[in-house]
Structures are given as C-alpha cells and as structure tokens.
C-alpha cells in the first residue's frame, strides 16, 4: 500500500527519501535483530562508560575489577540481576505489574526502528538503506512510542500499590509530559525547514547545513528537554533516591527491574539518536571530513561510524551533566519547563515560520531580512533591559482590590492575609518557615548574643571599674 495514494498534499511532500523497495523479510529480521543487539550492547557499554566517566571526573578509578578496565562489570551486573529471585509483591495488580516493565522496554527498543543509521549499503547483495523502515510520519511515530513508554512508568508505579512507586510514577508522568511539550515544539521548526516528518528526508535535508547550527535555539531547547524526558540528572526527580528511594521501580526485582533499568538507558540512546538525526546531520560526516575524497566518507558503511559517534557524544553530554549538576527542586524544574522552555520554543517557532514565510512567499533579500531581524532583536533586548523587574510573582498578594481590611480566619493564606501580619513561627505547634511577605521575628538567641557581645565590648572598657566596684 502506498501512503501517497491518499492524494494528500502532506503525504506527498513528506514522503521518505530512503528507498526500501528492495527489502525482503529476512532483511527486516536482520535489521531488527541488529538494532536490538546494538542497543543491548551499547547499554552494557554505556553503563560501564558512565561509571568510568563519572569516576574520572570525580578523580577515582571506577569499576576496574571485572575484565580489562572493568569492562565486564555491566555484564556481571546483568547476570546477577537475571539470577535474582523474581517475586511480585502482595498488594500488586499482578497483570499490570508484569506488563509495565514489558511496555517500558519494548517501546524503548522500538524507537530506533525509524532512525537512519546510514545511507544505502549492500547486505548479502541486497541494496538497502541502513534503517529498518521509514514513513512520512516517522518522527510522530517516535513521539508516539516514547509516549507509550510513559505508560510503563505510570502503570508500574500504580500497579505496585505502594506509596513511593505511586508518587514516583505520578511525578514522572508529570515531568515527561511537561518536557514533551517543549520538545515537541522545538521539533516543529525542524519539520518546517525540512518539509517532512520522515527521518531519512530530514537527514537528507541536512546535507549542506546541520540544523543544530541553523536552528540553534531549538536545538538548545531540545537538549534540555531531552534530559528531562529521560529522567536524568539534574531532572531525575521521579526516582530521587533521597525522597522516593527509586520511584516507580521500588517494588521491582530481578529482570523486571532490569527491564526498567535497561529501558532508561535505551531511552538515553534514543534521545541522542533523535538529536543526531534531527539536529546533528544524522549519519553525515562532520564538516572537514566531507571534503575527503569527494564525500566518500558519506557512502557505504562509513556513516554508521559518524552516527554512532554522534550518539555517543550525546551520551557523554548526559554523563557530564550528571557529574556536574545537582538535582533541581520540583518547582524549579516545572518552572523551567513551563515558563522558559515552552515560551522559548514557541517564540522561536514563530520567528522561524515568519522568516521562512518571508523567504518563500515574499521577494525579500536574505540579507535585508537578517538586518531587520537583528534590528528588532536589538530593540527587544533594550526594552527588556529597561523593563522594571517585578517585585513579587504572585499577583494576588498585595492587590488593592481585595478587601484586605476584612479579617481572615487564622490560616495563612498569602492572598488574603495582609502582608505585614505578624509571623507566628510556631503556628500549629510546629516550627514553620515564614511565608512570602512575612518576616522572621528577630531571633531571641541573636539578641542574647548581641547583648553578650555588647557586654563584652563594654566590658573591655568598663569591666575593670565594675570589677573594681565588685571587689570593693
């Protein structure tokens, strides 16, 4: 069945460039198994690499016992997990409890199916692209499958029927959906300039210029939200071990736990691969290399190397972040997603679409347009510089309209209470921190200390006389 026969504007324009017409069923099987094996092996390596990189960054050796440089450490861990007892807890909703890790790992594995690893190569005499499949809505497929992965987390937390997993899964889904928005918005500009959702065509569109340069702001937004998507530090709130032990995975053991764990690492690869495909030119060789031999490095099996290299670059970026940054507080995290990334992505999208529109539909020279943009940007910056900073985020706090003179019930509500109400540090019998607008009363200890020090200084001048007096 041909998708383009639907006679659609969209489908025709967005048809993938990769040609799968030669593929047979065994080619598919080979590719599928190849991708799976690649992912599993990469994860084993990635776990080791992460520990090693972290250790190096923290100036300690890291795993070094099993195999050379501790290379077999992850393998050992995997076997250990396999041999552990696989039990399910008493209160669990059995079917969903088992289903959850399966969903998580399967959907994680499936993302790579539409990622182009390279151009056309010959496998056992069949000329075929290094990509399992592609379709006009490939990126949509990626988003759909990753969204399905959230079900694994949510259902896992819910089916455990336990407190920590539930909290972890709710947090996790809130986090994932929040960052998915920013991510989705940042991708729109890529589609806009590529004119397609097909991964192979997006890669194709980046032959000249990688979108990470042309669409740098979108790339930045994507980088941040990608880390949020995979629940990595600094955004690993769902499984924050200090608060939630291990989030949705608390009640899982053995292979079920392993699948969750595996899914997380595969997801890291997935987001890196997507970043590679959409922003980093996919399998295209980086700039100076393209000059070699009339682009010979962009043909055959070579691109696989560039692709894997770029994916590992993304992985390293995430290791690096983990080693460098601290975990966000939940409200900071949400603020970042909702109040910075989404508006930024939106504004960027509008800009791109306008620029693209002017370029395509109006006869305007690129240079003049860029000048205009620069001018507007400059004006905006000046305005933002001059704009008075808002003192208080909550608009309800001190507005004159509300009847602040009406006495409120003795409960602390910032929007009802007058701002200067005296602060009771022991409201309800527990020590409580001051609410916005309240001031800590001067500490009694502080006063005492001040008095003492005053007394001491005074003593420096007058003690002697007093002493004398005492003595006297």
């Amino acid at each position: 069945m041909n998708v383009t026969t639907t006679g659609t504007v969209v489908a025709a324009a967005a048809a993938p460039t990769a040609d799968f017409s030669n593929d047979t069923w065994w080619i598919w099987v080979i590719k599928s198994v190849g991708i799976l094996v690649f992912l599993l092996l990469s994860v084993l390596v990635a776990i080791w690499a992460e520990r090693k990189v972290l250790a190096r960054m923290q100036t300690r050796p890291g795993p070094n016992v099993h195999g050379p440089f501790g290379l077999l450490q992850s393998l050992a861990d995997a076997i250990k997990l396999l041999l552990k007892e696989d039990f399910s807890i008493k209160g669990a909703d059995k079917v969903i409890y088992v289903l959850a890790p399966l969903i998580a790992v399967t959907s994680a594995l499936l993302v790579m199916a539409v990622i182009p690893f390279g151009p056309e190569v010959s496998i056992f005499g069949v000329v075929t692209p290094l990509q399992l499949t592609d379709m006009p809505v490939a990126v949509l497929y990626i988003l759909a499958v990753t969204a399905l992965g959230v079900y694994g987390i949510v259902l896992g937390g819910w089916a455990s029927n336990s407190t920590y997993p539930l909290l972890g899964s709710v947090r996790s889904s809130a986090q994932v959906i929040s960052y998915e928005l920013a991510m989705g918005l940042s991708l729109v500009s890529v589609f806009l300039v590529s004119g397609s959702l097909s991964t192979s065509q997006i890669v194709d569109a980046q032959t000249q210029l990688w979108w990470c340069i042309a669409l740098a702001p979108a790339f930045l937004v994507y980088l941040v939200s990608m880390v949020g998507e995979v629940n990595r530090l600094p955004f690993d709130l769902p499984e924050a071990e200090g608060e939630l032990v291990a989030g949705h995975m608390v009640e899982y053991t053995s292979m079920k736990f392993a699948w969750f764990f595996l899914a997380e690492y595969i997801n890291m690869f997935n987001v890196s691969a997507v970043a590679t495909t959409l922003f980093l030119g996919g399998w295209h060789a980086p700039w100076p290399l393209t000059l070699i031999g009339d682009g010979v490095l962009n043909t055959g099996w070579w691109p696989l190397l560039w692709f894997v290299g770029k994916v590992w670059l993304g992985m390293f970026f995430m290791f690096w972040l983990r080693a460098t940054l601290l975990r966000f507080r939940y409200d900071q995290f949400m603020n970042l997603g909702w109040k910075i990334l989404i508006p930024a992505a939106l504004v960027w999208l509008v800009l791109v679409s306008i620029v693209q529109g002017v370029r395509q539909f109006a006869e305007v020279d690129l240079r003049t347009m860029l000048l205009w943009i620069a001018g507007i940007f400059a004006v905006l910056m000046v305005v933002m510089l001059v704009w008075p900073e808002k003192k208080d985020g909550r608009e309800d706090t001190a507005e004159p309209g509300g009847r602040a003179d009406v006495p409120a019930t003795p409960r602390h509500r910032t929007d009802v209470l007058p701002a200067d109400e005296t602060f009771d540090p022991f409201a309800g019998g527990y020590p409580v921190p001051p609410l916005p607008g309240q001031k800590l009363p001067p500490s009694p200890r502080e006063r005492r200390r001040r008095e003492t020090s005053a007394a001491v200084t005074k003593a420096g001048t007058t003690t002697t006389t007093e002493k004398e007096g005492d003595d006297a």
Partner: protein
C-alpha cells in the same frame, strides 16, 4: 513500495519476545523462597499505608499539569502537519497558524498570570 509498518511489526515482535524471554528466564533460573516481609510493600520499615493507590491524595497541581498538557499537545498536533505542508499552505497557512498560536498563547498567559504554572 512495501508497507513501512510491516518491519515495525517484526521488530516489535522480536523485542517483545526478548522482553518476555528475559522475565521467563529469570523466573526459571532465579531462586524461589517465600518470605512474608519480602512481598510486603516497601515503606522504610513502617507498616504499609493502606490503599495507597485508591484513596491517595495528590496535589491538585498534577491534574492541572495534565490538563494544560492536553491543550498544548493538541496545539503541537496541529503544528506538525502545518509545518510539513508549510510551502503548500503558503501565506494563508502562515497567517492562520500565527493566529492559532496567538490564540493558544492567550490562555497560556492567563494560566501563567493566575498562578496555574506555579508549583508551590
């Protein structure tokens, strides 16, 4: 051209078999020792809170996030086809989508200003 979804099915099948196989293997090779405490909920040694999932209370903020997400997700859904068909839709599409974005921005600003995006 063949149906691009068939390879996906094959891969999904392989992946599912692998996932199930892993769990099955661990069931076979793993030990089986019953222990009452082991199958209880993890609650840091405290008695498990009854019915965490059924009567649990969450900050209403979670619902708010979910609802806001739905609205913006739909926006994104509309943006994708438009982005792909950008050149066909031409000026009409551009203007329409800018209007659409502006209209979505209005409730976004509303929610922001009314504290819907604050998490505290």
């Amino acid at each position: 051209m063949t149906n691009p979804y068939v390879p996906l099915l094959i891969m999904a099948g392989v992946a599912a078999v692998m996932a199930l196989g892993g769990i099955a293997t661990s069931q076979i090779v793993g030990p089986k020792r019953y222990n009452r405490v082991k199958v209880a909920n993890y609650e840091c040694g405290i008695d498990p809170t009854p019915r965490a999932a059924h009567a649990g209370r969450f900050p209403v903020k979670y619902y708010l996030v979910a609802m806001t997400f739905i609205i913006f997700d739909i926006e994104v859904v509309f943006l994708y086809p438009w982005a792909v068909a950008f050149s066909e839709l031409a000026v009409f599409g551009l203007v329409a989508m800018l209007l659409f974005i502006a209209l979505i921005t209005v409730p976004y600003l509303y929610e922001w200003r009314r504290g819907g995006l604050d998490w505290d």
